[in-house]
Amino acid sequence: MIDSINNSDTKVTSDRLPPDVFVVVPAYNEAPRIGPVLEGLLEVARTVVVVDDGSRDNTFDVARRYPVWLLRHVVNLGQGAAIQTGITFALQKGAQFVATFDADGQHEPRDLLRMYNRLVEEGADYALGSRFLGRTENMPWSRWLMLKAAVWFTRLMSGIWVTDTHNGIRMMTRRGAERIHITLNRMEHASEILDQIARSGYRYIEVPVTIRYSVESLAKGQKTTAAVRLAAKLFAERLAQ
């Protein structure tokens, strides 16, 4: 594959991201899926950081077969903690851009190229993936309803006006990543990130992305009861501040 990339300040004209764009992949019990996900991702990204969040299956061993940075939490902490570990590592390694990408195969790797180009073109610090501006495949109506409720909940709590609040694909500049300090370890981190983006005062954009739901990703995704727990925890966190 021939790349024609100059540096991180310029738009990508090839189909691969520059090496200083670090893609963080949090993974928990993803052994059956992480191989194909990394294969697809490595066609687009040169620097991938997999954070195995204390998986009980052989996610770590599968990820080891690929040319990626591999970090491992000795116990399961949650996706938020795994993302923060990846961001911290990427910044230590001199990343100029940091992206997050779920390990369950629901994202389209080429969306990262669009996010990168939009960040560079528009001079923003955060590019947030939006399935509601883009495309979804096989999304059940119950999930649609739950996500829409989350959007309104976030608008109420954070005051940030985005169309998709719990999308795992996002990209940020180094400056933007330095402002993110995730303390809510589990799924609440998506709202916490939006809170911190709102507080940073830095510019954010939404980029249309594709989300493909499969039986596995739906099984691993958030249930309605989990969404209620998430809302309760965010509320408790606000009260405790």
Binding site: V51, G54, R64, W69, L70, L71, R72, H73, V74, V75, L77, A81, Q84, T85, T88, F89, Q92, T183, N185, A236, L239, A240
Partner: protein, 108 residues
Amino acid sequence: MTLFQWTFGTLCALVALRHVIRIVRGDGSRLAGIFWGLLWAGAAVTIFRPGVTGELAALFGIGRGADLVMYLAVLAGIVVTRYFYSRMRRLENLLTEVVRDIALKQVQ
């Protein structure tokens, strides 16, 4: 005096006395001893003289003594919940830092 007053009132008074003895002996935290001693002594007084809560409630403009006790219990519940939530979050953050540090040092 009812059987309830004799049993539970005496029990509360004994617990309060135990805290006083611990303070005098210098065992444990003095502040915690005073807090728990006062709490148990208060409970004993309330059991032996139920009218005292009514008199206290009247001081605050609350109709019944039982209402005052309930308001105080709710307030105490909120304070205790917040305290333990903060402690739990601090511990969670510490554990996260330790696990993250190990992960960053053992990167492959």
